[in-house]
Each structure stands twice: as C-alpha cells, then as structure tokens.
Symmetry: C2
Subunit: 468 residues, 2 copies
C-alpha cells in the first residue's frame, strides 16, 4: 500500500553525490516507465551536491568560491522536481511503519512516511580525542576538510593575516589523500607546513613509491614526519598552539588539519536494525539494496573489491555517483547492478614549484600478499614523452602481478605532469582480469609528445613480465 | 649447416626500430640460452634507431638537433656487439643459397651469407607524380618528412630568411598524422600554412570529429582545404612556386610537405619470392616469421587487426619495437607471438595558441559498418578536470559499439591538454573485448585536477550505453 494512492513516495536521506544521483535517476526512470513517484530528500546541512574532493583546491586558492564546488544548487534540484528539505536531520528510521523521523535545525520534529527509502548519508571524518574539549567540541584552529562548512572555516582562516610577520604554521595530521592535498593548500597559502603521519605518506602505495612522494613534498618545503602519531594538542584560550607526537616532540601550530580518514555515517540504518560490515558501513547487495524497499549508496556503504573478492570501505565520489544512479534505477524496477571497485585513486602534490602526480589501482605488493596472492612487483623508471620532447616528465611505475597465474594485480604511479592518469590503462586491464603479459602486449597510443615508443606503463609491465 | 661452425649468423636488413630491437633481443636471448650468434645489420642510410615520429617536432624547433632523435648511435650498437654496416643497401636476397647481396654507397657489391634473416626495411613515403621531374627527382622545395635526411632538408629550409619581408608559404599535402604535425611545424616556423587533403583531416576519425580538428587548425590560422587533391606543381628553375588542385585552384608555395602516407618497403622480400598482402606488405605469422629462418618486423609488414580479424597496414614505431623484439626472441628459439593491433594512435596540433589533442583506437563508425558490425556511436562533450579547476579543458569523446553484442568497437578523442592519452583506457578495454557497459562501469581514477566524477571517457560510454 502506498503512502499516497497511485503515487509512490521515495525518501532519500542525504543530498550529495549518491542521494541526488538516486533522486534524479529515479525521476528519469519513473518518467520513462510511466510511474508516478514523489521524491523527498532530507539533508541535514544547507548544502547539496558539492564536491568534497574540491575543498583542498578551494582552500589553496585555485577555486574562486564555495559556490563553484556546488554541482547543482537546491533551487535547481527543486526545479527538477525534487522535494528537497534542507536543515532536516533524519534521526530515526522505522522499517516496519515505513517512516523516517527528522528534526529541523530549531529542533522541530517531523515524521516522513515512505514507500521506498534511499540511505545516502555519506561518511564522517575521524576526530581524535586530543582534538576536542571535554564537551567534544573541536579546539579552535583544528578542523577536518570534509564538508562545505569546513571549507568556509578554512577559507576564513587562510585569509587571516600572519602574526607579526611570522609565517603561520600548519600541521596536517594524516598522510592520506586529504593530508597530501591539504598540505599543498596550506603551503600554497604561505603556511610553514608540517605533515605528521602514523606510517608513511600514501600508505596504500608500496613503501618505495611512498618514499618518492615524501621526497617531493620535502623538496617543496613540507616537513614530513612519518611513523609518529599526534597524541595531544596544547591550547591557549581554547585555540591550538601546538601538537605533541608519541615521541614527545612538540610541533607549533596555528592551524591543524585533521586528515585521519573517514568512517561510514551509518548510524541511521544501524538504529533501524540494518546489518553493518566490519568497517561499519552498510552491506548492500549488488543492486545497492539493503532491505525490502531500502537502498543505500555512497560513502555510508562498504563496497565489493573485485580483486580481493570481499567488501572494503572506499569512500569516493565517483563510486557514490555510480551507486546513486543504480539505486535510482532499481527503486523504480529497472534492474541494474554495481560491479564493484578496484581501488583506483589519483591525487597530486603541486606547490612551491614541485608537481608530483600519485595514482594507484588494484592491490599494492603488501595488500596482494595479505590477500593470499604470490605477489611479484617491480618499479620501472620511465618518461611520459619521448626523451627529446620538452614536455617529458619522469614517471615511476610499480606493477604488481600474481606469480603463478601471471594476472595483473595492481599498479602505482608517481611522476610528473601527465603521468598519473595513465593508471586508468591498468584499471581497465584489471577490470578485464588481464595478465601482466596482456598489458605488455596491448596497443597503447604513442607519439613523441605523449609517450615513449614503449609506453611507460607498458614498459613497466614488460619488465616485470620478463622477470618471472 | 651454419655459415660458421658452432656459430649462427643472423643478418638484419634495416637499422631502425624493428631491426635493432630484433638484433639486441637476439643477442640478449642468445646469451641467456648459451647460443653463439653473430649479428650483421645492413643499413642503407647512415642513420640508426631514429625517431621518424619526432621529425615534425624537430622541424618545429622544439627539438635541438637531429642527434636528439637518435635513440642509439651506430657506435653504441657496435659496442653492444652488433656488426653494423652503414651505407649498405641490400639489393637481393636468395633464400636457397641463404645470401643477401648488398651494395655500398660507391656501388661496391658484396654478398653476406646468413643462417637467419630479419627483414626490417620499413616503409617509404608515397611520392605523387606531380612532385618529381621526368627523372623521378623531387622538385626543389618539395619533400616528405620520413627520414633524417628529410629532417636535415627541412631544418635547412626553415632556417632560410623570408623573401623580402613576405611570409613564406608552406603547402602541406595530406591530412593524416604527418600532415597535421607538419602543419604545426611550418606554422610554428612562421610560414603561411595551407593544408590540402583529399577527404578531410584525420579521416580515420568519424567526420564530426574531424570537423573539430579542422576548426581548431583554422582558428590557429591554417588554411585547410578538404576534398581536393593536388594535381600539379609549377616550378621555376626546378623549384616549386605553386601547386594546383583538381578544381584548378593555385596555391602559392615556397615549400611543399608531402604527407600522403607510406607504403611498405617490401621489394627485397618480394624479389626473393615472399608473399605480399593486399597492402603490399609482408605477411608474417604471429611469430613474425615469413619463411623458414626468415622473420620480418615493423613497417614493411602488414599487421593483424584484432577487431576486424584481418591484416591491415599500420606503420608505427610502437608496433615496430614490439615486433622486432619478437623476431629476436623467436630467431634464437624462444617462442613469442605478436597479438595484433587495435589501430590506436595519438597526435596533436599545437601552434599559434591553439592546442588540440587527437586520439583514436579500434574502429570508427564508418570502419565498423564497413567491417560488417551494426555500429552505434555517440559523441559526448565533457571536460578533463572538475569544472571548477583551472586546468580543465574540453574533451569530445566518440564511442563506437556493436548494437547486438554491445561490444566496444572503438573510440576517438578530440580535446585540449590532458585529453588524448585517455584513449588508452579504451584501448585496454578493446584489448579485453569488453562491452560499452564494462567501460561505463569500471573503476577509473577521479580527483578534481584529473577528471570529473563521471570520468569523460566513462561518461561518454554510459551515454552511448543508455541509448541502445
């Protein structure tokens, strides 16, 4: 029985990539099949469809305003037929009575009945205990870089003048994507920048690749501290002055960026009795369904790793967009499936005249061994263009394969301009479960401004293939 | 019975990509398996292992000297154990007596016995009748851009001062890769540049993609004349002054670049009774073998097209390098096969503030239809980076698929900086015989400086996949 006779009400919780992709795909598909549906979207913030990945570039000053990060405004969503309710926090879901309880910013409660539900609540940044006061409030100057409110905070902060001519000091905690990108941003804004990381920078790459990134960041002037964790923040009047690592070293800090990763924001479904995976995310089936009439997509979900054949947590906008669409198709009855991920990712560190591109797909040597493969790997140094072309840059390619099956398992790239995007060649090969010999043999594009006659990715694959 | 007891003599004809790859791989492989081989390489010019593809960039002034185009000098080859004989033109092969007849520059003949033979004689530029005098000599100012002697000719020519303040005029005949690249070069050198082509520019792309290239070249100031052929050259004192097209139009020309394509230089083997294909090239098996003890590699060969399942002529350095190595492996008994090509290629036109990257792989819509596929295709306009990032450039992607099997058949890209190399993603997908749905679903790299959340290549695939 429907909420309204002859119409079906779809409630979407979360108005970013997955949620709005689901909403619009559902509307398109419903139109196509002649179904009447109403879409209500509940969003706790006042922002929709923004690029969280763009925040470091906004903070760096490369993007003019937070508005530029918004792919589609609330007005636009509404004009396209979505009943979008901003500042509306979903606090509970009842899967039996088919209702979501929501609360407005001023604490006003409401209940929203649904026929079908999409959970797209994203992920929340990991906040360490040392970053907050006894009430759980972040100390002044300490903040993650996850949502547009964070972005506004950072923009205000970097606009402040330096204190008496002294360069301001930023400590970035965490050596993953957001850590590297925010170190670019603070350095670009003139901060003396220190990056502190528990293991190494970009630890999803093999150690010898990470070392190249560390070397590049140091040559740009970033103080990179590896193998240490921050254990305390020292504050004056509630504002951070320094942080202390596990070896007792103090690092002076006017600002501290929290780049310690994300966790799935899955409390809502968990409260309704939905199962969570080992990483704390929803466990949708391949149609993104988590229960009868309930779908989930994006960073609140765990996701199927095609190589390891198990679920992992891989919060990324590109997956959220794809999964959202799949939710939208399926909830009006069009069968679509999500085929899983490979762990493909790319970023860069580009500041102070240093430009390094960083990309990965599949498994690192370490991950492959952990997953039970007999992993072989090799790093090959190449160039992105013919040696005589002015645009050539170095490219180091680490290829990982399985010794017995010769199957390609992964690739990592660290290099200059035009190096990183080549990772997609390996991603496509991994998608097709090809061997390292396939990658060495395939017909990739060559011309002097774009590649060497033995394309860098291919040369690296051939070199590895010749070793075993 | 060997030429020398206990040793095997390998004669290689041609000292460029395929020939020298074969020579060095044979030496490496022989060492690895403990065989004694001698390698004699006969080369008619005095250049070895040079990048013909680099000539336009040398002429444009982006590369300092012809030496920079030489990957490995004669001295280096000799130091690595190759008996390299420059200025030595192979004139005949006798497959029964196992001898090559050669002639030195001064007409001195010699015979070189062999146990094994590699034919790597490359391709020759197509020279139209109107370009030569009655003795078959090119008129002054008219020249292809194929070998290093051509390169030296062009370097001398572009260094000449303009005539009385008037801008010099270049006519480029042919709209393929070399035509587009040489138009970039002559424009960069300050020539008023006209490109005349029988059909359109880059006619291995579908027409609506070619039109974008023509528009870009015109916006840079190149006069592009499509659908016409040059029928005559007008000369004064043996030097070109203008050319006339089939509609009677005269185009004034101080220099004329011949970019009319290549034909396999297969006379040597043809004279020895080897079969030639419909394009005039050798027809090696998948081990690059053409007869007992005889291998052929590179531009003198036809090559297996993996999609059309037939041989085509696709002269390209990257194939020559791969095939040469395969010859080298096989002639010492290591079994290796060449898996064919997809027709992947890339180039650019970059001059006068205009930068357009052009790439293709697999079949165009036209080629797919000709090959009997029920081809569907769609052009999608995207961007190479998130819309708010300063490095974003436009990228038009034309995806071709087979309607019934949904198999991906080809892709073409025309776009700005960082667009072209994405063709390799499609090449990898084609190599694995994946569907357009696979390409739409796969996990490609995303971050704001490098891609949109729906990666351009993937967005284009999805849009096409949704159409049928």
């Amino acid at each position: 029985m429907s909420v309204l006779p002859g119409r079906e009400r779809v409630v979407v919780v979360g108005a970013d990539a997955a949620g709005m992709s689901a909403a619009h795909q559902a509307l398109r598909s419903a139109r196509a099949v002649g179904k009447n549906i109403d879409i209500v979207v509940l969003e706790k913030t006042f922002d929709t469809s923004y690029s969280a990945c763009g925040i470091p570039y906004l903070v760096a000053g490369l993007v003019d305003s937070t508005d530029d990060l918004v792919a589609r405004t609330a007005d636009k969503h509404r004009a396209m037929g979505v009943d979008l309710r901003l500042g509306s926090t979903a606090t509970a879901v009842d899967l039996t009575s088919r209702r979501v309880t929501a609360e407005s910013e001023d604490g006003h409660p409401s209940t929203v009945p649904f026929d079908k539900l999409v959970l797209a609540t994203g992920a929340a940044p990991v906040i360490p205990d040392w970053a907050t006061d006894q009430h759980g409030r972040l100390f002044g100057g300490i903040r993650p870089a996850k949502n547009l409110d964070d972005a506004r905070f950072w923009l205000d902060l970097v606009a402040l003048p330096a204190d008496g001519g002294r360069a301001r000091r930023a400590v970035v905690v965490g050596g993953g994507y957001i850590g590297v990108e925010m170190a670019e941003a603070t350095l670009a804004r003139g901060f003396d920048t220190t990056l502190i990381t528990r293991h190494t920078v970009m630890s999803s790459l093999d150690a010898h690749m990470s070392e190249r990134i560390v070397a590049a960041m140091r040559s740009a002037g970033v103080q990179v501290v590896t193998d240490h964790v921050v254990e305390a923040a020292h504050t004056v009047d509630g504002h951070v002055r320094s942080v202390t690592t596990d070896d007792g070293t103090d690092y002076a800090a006017d600002v501290v960026v929290l780049g310690l990763g994300l966790r799935p924001a899955s409390e809502l479904g968990a409260g309704a009795g939905l199962a969570l995976g080992e990483h704390g995310g929803y466990l949708p089936d391949d149609r993104q369904q988590v229960a009868e009439g309930v779908w989930a997509g994006g960073d609140c979900c765990e996701v199927f790793d095609r190589i390891r054949r198990r679920t992992v947590f891989a919060p990324l906008g590109t997956h959220a967009n794809k999964q959202g669409r799949i939710c939208g198709h399926n909830l009006v009855g069009e069968e679509r499936t999500f085929a899983g991920i490979l762990g493909t990712a790319i970023t860069r560190f580009s500041a102070a005249g240093v430009h390094v591109e960083i990309a990965r797909t599949g498994l690192s040597t370490t991950q492959a061994a952990e997953a039970g493969f007999d992993a072989v790997s090799l790093v090959t140094d190449g160039v992105t263009a013919s040696g005589y072309m002015p645009e050539r840059t170095p490219i180091a390619t680490n290829v990982v394969a399985d010794r017995s099956s010769r199957r390609l398992l992964g690739m990592q790239i660290v290099g200059g301009h035009q190096s990183g995007k080549r990772i997609d060649t390996a991603a496509a090969a991994l998608w097709g479960e090809m061997s390292v010999d396939d990658l060495a043999a395939m017909d990739l594009s060559y011309a002097p401004p774009f590649a060497t006659a033995w394309e860098a990715v291919q040369l690296a694959s051939r070199r590895l293939a010749d070793r075993f």
